[in-house]
């Protein structure tokens, strides 16, 4: 017997605009709760932590903060009597059958809807290589492609890639006992579509159309890198990964260098699929679309959008493994420029903080010096003779 609680469980996939959706939900969580839609998160990565917990997945030390996060989240979900609850994280796509079952069971008597956002493999494969590079990897593009084509999937890269990208398998694992009409497949529009179209699809699928949402200050999410920028980042990884701890790598390399510096360079060539694997990807995509069609899912967008775009073969392919040093150098100079600007900003900030500390110290000293005077005056004012002494003192000072 289901309650009036509807749970929209968004289980992936990576690189489909999920960060943007999660950012919108997190920043609007209070106003959405007032409108009957709950996104339980006390920090922006709360559902990421819950996913790590669910899947026993260590993640560069962050897992230490994840202990018990799934159970804590689902306890809040089960406490909702009426309304919609959204849980969203793309790495949930890699959950095993047992983990998915545990997750579904832990949602109690909810009306569960499985949400999966998906993009064609022609864009997902290069994007996943970039994600690897943004997560400390030094794997070349060629080796990455070899790993994902290994049918045994014995390597870390291949097993992870298919775990989070193989759409029919993800949906099999996550739809155990869930009616097809409660499975919503949201496809990412093809290149050249209006920039708002993906959000419109999310909004429709998640039932957010008629709600008041503030988009002010929402980050556009997880931007992609150009070919020279990605190649540079891989070179940087070769130098810094051995000496930078994950806790330092995340803010300095991934956030500052990759996201806030290199991803801003929009004129450089975008990474595409290697022509050599195009036929394999085309055939695989067709088999997935065939497997998914006829299942009765609610498709927001179109299954045909998961096929490799027909005009892809005509587009130039620039190989990040063999790109010229000159092009990488341009990205490198831009990085040095940004790092210098950041160093100057930090130095100014440090000087300002030093000034503030100096001022605060002076104020503290002054206050300390006042305390004995203040106490003496208060003591005198409590006694008749003290008040007389103060009167005389003030007359003399005048």
């Amino acid at each position: 017997m289901e309650t009036g609680r509807r749970v929209l469980l968004h289980v992936g996939t990576p690189k489909t605009g999920t960060s943007y959706l999660q950012d919108v939900l997190f920043h609007n969580r209070e106003s959405l709760a007032g409108q009957g839609v709950h996104y339980f998160a006390d920090r922006f990565d709360a559902h990421f932590l819950a996913a790590l917990d669910l899947m026993d997945l260590p993640w560069g030390g962050i897992e230490e903060e994840a202990t018990g996060a799934w159970d804590a989240l689902t306890e809040k979900v089960r406490a909702v009597e009426n309304g919609t609850v959204i849980i969203s994280h793309e790495i949930l796509a890699s959950a095993s059958w047992q983990q998915a079952k545990h997750a579904l069971d832990s949602l109690g008597d909810s009306e569960i809807h499985i949400m999966l956002s998906a993009r064609d493999l022609a864009r997902q494969i290069p994007a996943e290589w970039q994600e690897n590079v943004k997560h400390r990897s030094v794997v070349t593009y060629a080796d990455f492609l070899d790993e994902i084509r290994d049918p045994a999937r014995e390597g870390r890269i291949g097993s992870w890639f298919w775990g989070v990208q193989e759409l029919p398998d993800i949906l099999d694992r996550w739809t155990q006992g869930i009616a097809p009409e409660r499975v919503h497949l949201i496809t990412v529009p093809p290149p050249g579509s209006p920039s708002t179209l993906l959000w419109e699809r999310f909004s429709t699928a998640f039932g957010l159309d008629d709600l008041t949402i503030d988009f002010e200050g929402i980050d556009r999410g997880n931007p992609s890198l150009g070919v020279p920028e990605a190649a540079l980042l891989r070179e940087i990884n070769l130098a810094v990964v051995p000496v930078l701890e994950p806790a330092d790598y995340r803010p300095f390399v991934r956030e500052f260098l990759a996201h806030r510096t290199l991803a801003k360079r929009r004129d450089s060539a975008r990474l595409a699929l290697s022509p050599s694997i195009l036929p394999w990807v085309e055939s695989l995509s067709e088999s997935w679309v065939k497997a998914l069609s006829g299942r009765g899912y609610d498709v927001v967008g179109g299954l045909e959008e998961l096929l490799v775009p027909e005009d892809l073969a005509d587009k130039p392919f620039i190989d990040p493994d063999t790109i010229s040093s000159r092009e990488i150098l341009d990205a490198g100079v831009a990085s040095i420029d940004a790092l210098l600007q950041e160093a100057i900003r930090l130095r100014k900030s440090e000087a300002r903080l030093e000034d503030e500390v100096g001022e605060l110290r002076a104020e503290l000293e002054h206050t300390r010096s006042l305390v004995p005077k203040q106490r003496a005056r208060e003591g005198l004012e409590r006694r008749w003779w003290g008040r007389a002494v103060l009167k005389v003192y003030r007359l003399i000072r005048r």
Partner: protein
């Protein structure tokens, strides 16, 4: 409508009842015994191997089948030749061909859950090991005030024994003894310690990364450790011990224990369980479970599983380790610390040159699952 019987469910039911027939010799179909998906080949093969060691309680078997291999890596592997209509997903496998590494990973969640269960049932809190202070100063403590530092894999068992004897570290004008040894063994000790206390990569990857980084890390850097203490207490109170046999004399005791008698494979078992515990609990609990609960059990199992290995630097890395060791030795000698033992004892011994044997690590894990310790 009930699900159709399959050969895979038939094999799973056979294993659940204690069977040991390999998959390729199995032919009987059966209907699913649960609404869950058929467990992956890795879990079923693990159960088959467990059954080969003896019977298990049914509730433990069901608990095992409810787990999934943790973290990254393939799982939910279909059985080759079973009813499989899907054209996608992981390729079906013959479970007999799965590597011991995959089976050990499959065992790790259940082994971690067994350890976590001891936290809930532990009757009384353990006495506090580190904050204990003597009611009065022992005479030996006055005569031999000490601090023992260096690789914790070498020093922790000694410090525990000294404290058990009431010989607490510190005291007036204590001497800091930096316990060293052949750098390849000290480096292996740094990795071994982390297998029981934190999350760490497999030995060969840890070793590759150390060489890439050009440094074994703080726990294997004796000059750094000595310098840190010298800055705090003065160089004349820091002494380097390269021969552990000299330590009892320096500390005024008859004998001292060596490192914990656990093999490379026991370290590997602790390491994979630690991966799960790192998500399931806090670091302090993880350390307690691995060091205080798991380690004694593994020590008991060691003699039952032959061909134990010790962790050692691979031959191809010995030249690099030799260079590092010479630099450490020269730095300590030049710094002018008092030395006990030949400084050349800091050079690599080459006594062991392998990592854990995965088959033996799996055998230890199966013994743990079977409750043999």
């Amino acid at each position: 409508m009930p699900a159709a019987p399959t050969r895979g469910w038939g094999w799973a039911a056979h294993l659940r009842e204690g069977g040991t027939t390999p998959w390729t010799s199995w032919s009987e179909p059966a209907a699913p015994f649960t609404t869950a998906h058929l467990p992956g080949a890795e879990l079923l093969e693990l159960l088959r191997r467990l059954n080969e060691t003896g019977p298990s309680e049914p509730h433990r078997v069901d608990a095992l089948l409810r787990t999934s291999p943790p973290g990254r890596g393939r799982r939910d592997l279909p059985l080759v030749g079973d009813t499989e209509t899907r054209t996608y997903g992981p390729l079906p496998v013959d479970p007999a061909t799965l590597s011991p590494r995959e089976l050990l990973r499959a065992a790790s969640v259940r082994l971690a859950e067994d350890l976590l269960a001891t936290v809930e049932t532990e009757p009384a809190p353990r006495r506090r090991r580190w904050s204990r202070r003597p009611r009065k100063t022992e005479p030996d403590q006055q005569r031999y005030p000490y601090r023992l530092v260096g690789s914790p894999w070498l020093t922790l068992p000694i410090r525990e024994e000294l404290e058990r004897q009431g010989r607490l570290p510190g005291g007036d004008d204590y001497t800091v003894y930096v316990l060293g040894g052949p750098l390849d063994e000290v480096a292996a000790g740094a990795w071994k310690f982390r297998t029981f206390t934190n999350r760490v990569n497999p030995w060969h990857i840890w070793m590759r990364d150390a060489q890439w980084r050009g440094w074994f890390g703080p726990r294997a850097d004796l000059p750094r450790i000595a310098r840190w203490w010298a800055d705090g207490v003065g160089k004349d109170r820091v002494e380097i011990v390269t021969d552990p046999a000299l330590l009892p004399g320096l500390l005024g005791v008859d004998s001292l224990p060596g490192p914990w008698p656990v093999s490379a494979e026991a370290n590997e078992v602790a390491r994979v369980i630690g991966q799960v515990l790192s998500v399931r609990t806090d670091l302090e609990t993880q350390r307690k479970l691995l060091l205080d609960q798991l380690r004694p059990r593994l020590e008991k199992l060691e003699p039952l599983v032959p061909d134990a290995r010790d962790v050692g630097v691979p031959v191809e890395s010995l030249d690099w380790v030799e260079t590092q060791a010479r630099a450490q030795r020269d730095a300590l000698v030049e710094a002018g610390y008092a030395l006990h033992g030949d400084p050349d004892r800091l050079l690599p011994s080459g006594a062991a040159t392998q990592g854990p044997d995965e088959r033996r690590a799996l055998a230890l894990a199966l013994s743990l699952l079977a409750g043999r310790s």
